[in-house]
């Protein structure tokens, strides 16, 4: 249902994943995941090794954070994140690159999966693995459905429907076997449910690579599904609809319909955490943009905590005619307010947008064409939500299910009158979610 078809613009698809170096100082944020911020367990002056635990989970829905480098802890203080808000960061001055002894640094593929389910879950939790598709939800929580609910299908999300982004695509080309082993591990945790690796049809090379890896490794019940190209197919609920033809009820979770969705990068991170004892301290990010020369288009394997300014510098600086730099894809990404901000676990791209691409046209009147309602993948009526948000009618907003909005931006993209629908709906959704939350607390 719904969706739009923006131009692919995957300019960086031919750039191999390069290993990015580390600057003199890195800043590791304590709020890198959905849920409670992590609690630092290191003190100023401590020497930390690469992969050493920096912070422990601050609640049930939270995750461990590990040091991406080796060096001395210089400070544990608030620092501005990319939106300009304050968050706790651990500052580390880099000294060499000394890894934790328990981490296996070889590139040899380890096929055999440990038998003990609980031990695997513990390793994923201790590795600080979170969902790397965007929401950064702690993976160990997602892989452990509440009692009474069982997973019937594990979907590995290789849709990468956001224009410009190519990090998942490159991972599928360069590390297909590791991803399949990661998928098999998660399959094991979910009591051997079937597993589907879902890839959009515009990535034939990735489909071929994954199909070959699945055939070579021959784990039971893993297959590759080819999906038609559509945005936002990589959204959890949309993917479940596309693969399993099941719809999640309003306010429900994927596991309610028996589905668990994990990203390609998450599968890779699970592989590293379980088979190599390597916590989540690096991720792949795309540096790209429209009209950006080919030598400035990169896919980098970066250490989490490296400032964006360093990445941009290494990638050849900000290209000419850049009006806006966005963290993430053009549809859901956020513009940088602060380039000194550091990368977090969920960082997926540095996107340069030209002035033509970012220009906003004047808002016209709504002509009731209904295109936004057609485009909305959640079946909402954005024109109505926009009007209610303007009036501040939270009761009616809740009745119109504003809380189901996934902020994909399809409504704004499809509106012929250039009405900034999502811009108005976003704060209204936050307000309604706040009201629902406080009501549940009272109960």
């Amino acid at each position: 249902m719904g969706g739009v078809h923006p131009d692919d613009s995957k300019f960086a698809r031919e750039s191999r994943i390069e290993v990015l170096g580390v600057p003199q100082k890195v800043f590791v944020s304590m709020s890198q995941h959905l849920g409670a911020p992590a609690k630092p367990v290191v003190a100023v002056g401590d020497f930390v090794k690469t992969g050493q635990l920096l912070a422990e989970p601050g609640g049930f829905i939270s995750a461990c954070i590990h040091s991406p480098v080796s060096g001395t802890v210089k400070s544990v203080a608030p620092r501005k994140d990319l939106a300009g808000n304050m968050a706790m960061h651990v500052e580390i001055e880099v000294l060499g690159d000394l890894w934790e002894d328990s981490i296996d640094l070889s590139t040899k593929l380890i096929k055999d999966i440990p038998e003990d389910r609980e031990a695997i879950l513990q390793k994923i939790k201790d590795g600080g693995v979170v969902g790397l598709g965007g929401a950064t939800f702690p993976t160990h929580v997602k892989l452990n459905p509440p009692p009474g609910k069982t997973a019937e299908c594990l979907i590995i999300n290789g849709a990468e429907c956001e224009p410009f982004l190519t990090s998942d695509y490159r991972m599928m080309l360069e590390h297909p076997q590791e991803i399949v082993v990661g998928a098999a591990i998660m399959q094991k945790v979910l009591h051997a449910c079937p597993c589907v690796i879902a890839i959009e049809e515009n990535k034939p090379e990735a489909i071929a690579a994954m199909q070959k890896a699945v055939a070579d490794l021959a784990y039971p019940d893993i297959r590759v599904a080819v999906l038609r190209k559509r945005y936002p197919q990589g959204g959890e609920k949309q993917l479940i609809d596309a693969v399993m033809h099941r719809q999640i009820p309003s306010g429900g979770l994927p596991v309610d319909v028996g589905a668990v969705v994990q990203n390609i990068m998450t599968a890779f991170a699970v592989y590293e955490a379980v088979q190599k004892n390597k916590p989540l301290i690096s991720n792949v990010l795309t540096v790209t943009g429209d009209g950006v020369p080919a030598n400035m288009q990169h896919n980098y394997l970066f250490r989490i905590g490296v400032p964006f300014s360093y990445i941009i510098e290494q990638a050849g600086g900000v290209p000419e005619n850049t009006a806006k730099i966005v963290s993430g894809g053009p549809m859901m990404g956020k513009a940088f307010a602060n380039l000194e901000a550091t990368t977090v676990k969920g960082s997926s791209a540095v996107l340069y947008l030209s002035a033509e691409r970012t220009r906003r046209k004047a808002e016209g009147p709504c002509i009731r064409c209904g295109r936004c309602a057609d485009a909305c993948p959640m079946g909402l009526e954005p024109f109505l939500l926009n009007r209610l948000a303007k009036a501040g009618d939270t009761q009616e907003l809740e009745n119109a299910a504003v809380q189901d909005c996934i902020e994909c931006g399809c409504c704004l993209y499809s509106c012929p009158a250039q009405i900034p629908l999502l811009d108005r709906i976003r704060p209204a959704k936050a307000q309604v979610l706040g009201i629902i939350k406080s009501r549940n607390v009272k109960k």
């Binding site: 939106a83 300009g84 307010a337 976003r426 704060p427």
Partner: protein
């Protein structure tokens, strides 16, 4: 001709019957409304601004009469004189409140607070604040899209083009509190108007540490605590790196204004003394 007469007769009879029915229904289902509701509504300013927390003046009157008292019900627009009138109608006591006015607790003018990025999105503070911290290094201050101006039903607020900050017209401000609700950054505050409009307040809510706050804005409160030390009336507290003056304790001595190293504390409506001006120049 005949048909005309019949029409007139039938309509007249029909009219009489219906009138009879209506009058009977009106008598049978007569709602006795307390005349005090009308009286109170008349006494209220009739702005229907919602400053009291009710939908309008009628709703306020209704609630007051139903409850029979004025506990927690206060019309900020009318203030004490109107509330006395209302209390007299109900035959109860009302609380005496000093007249209040909205103040802008932000010094982040274009000159004080350099802009570090451009915002080209929807011109709404609510939307802007939901997206990011604002286009300066200060994540606490005014984001300057004028939601408060739009919320004001009395035309008391305007955006100053030179500073980019909202300005309160004291004559028009009724302290209804709509701007306080509208501001996503909680920059607006209702404070006592003070004797002859004299008042002193900290015009900053930046909770960052001193050095960070100062870097973001030249007139930020850096939480140094000098004002709290110099205050003889214990009116000033410094919490989370920002000072706050309790308007119920402040005696308007203005010692803190002179002491503040960044000029974050504002003294309003005090007569300007020529000597003071010179001192400022010397500094």
């Amino acid at each position: 001709m005949n048909s005309l007469i019949w029409t007139v007769i039938i309509l007249t009879v029909l009219g009489c019957i219906l009138a009879l029915v209506l009058s009977l229904v009106a008598r049978r289902f007569h709602v006795v409304e307390d005349p005090r509701i009308d009286a109170i509504e008349k006494a209220l300013p009739g702005a229907n601004c919602g400053g009291c927390g009710f939908a309008g003046c009628r709703a306020f009157s209704d609630a007051a009469v139903k409850a029979g008292n004025l506990d927690g019900r206060y019309c900020p627009v009318g203030g004490t004189p109107v509330m006395r009138e209302v209390a007299a109608i109900l035959g109860v006591q009302t609380e005496e409140k000093a007249p209040q006015v909205a103040v802008v607790r932000c010094n982040g003018s274009f000159a004080n607070r350099p802009r570090v990025n451009d915002y080209d999105g929807l011109k709404s503070c609510k939307v802007k604040a939901a997206l990011y911290a604002g286009d300066t290094h200060c994540p606490f201050g005014c984001v300057g899209c004028g939601d408060c101006v739009a919320a004001c039903a009395f035309g008391a607020l305007s955006l100053n083009a030179e500073t980019g900050l909202p300005v309160v017209d004291e004559q028009k401000c009724t302290a209804c509190g709509k701007c306080v609700q509208a501001c996503p950054k909680h920059v607006m505050e209702l404070r006592n108007k003070g004797p002859r409009g004299l008042r002193v307040f900290v015009s900053c809510i930046n909770k960052d540490k001193g050095a960070v706050a100062r870097k973001a804005c030249a007139a930020a409160c850096i939480g140094c605590g000098k004002c709290a030390k110099v205050c003889a009336h214990e009116a000033i507290t410094v919490q989370d790196n920002v000072a706050y003056i309790d308007f119920t304790k402040c005696r308007l001595c203005k010692k803190c204004v002179a002491e503040c190293p960044t000029g974050a504390i504002h003294a309003v409506n005090f007569p300007v003394l020529p000597k003071k001006e010179e001192e400022k120049k010397d500094e």
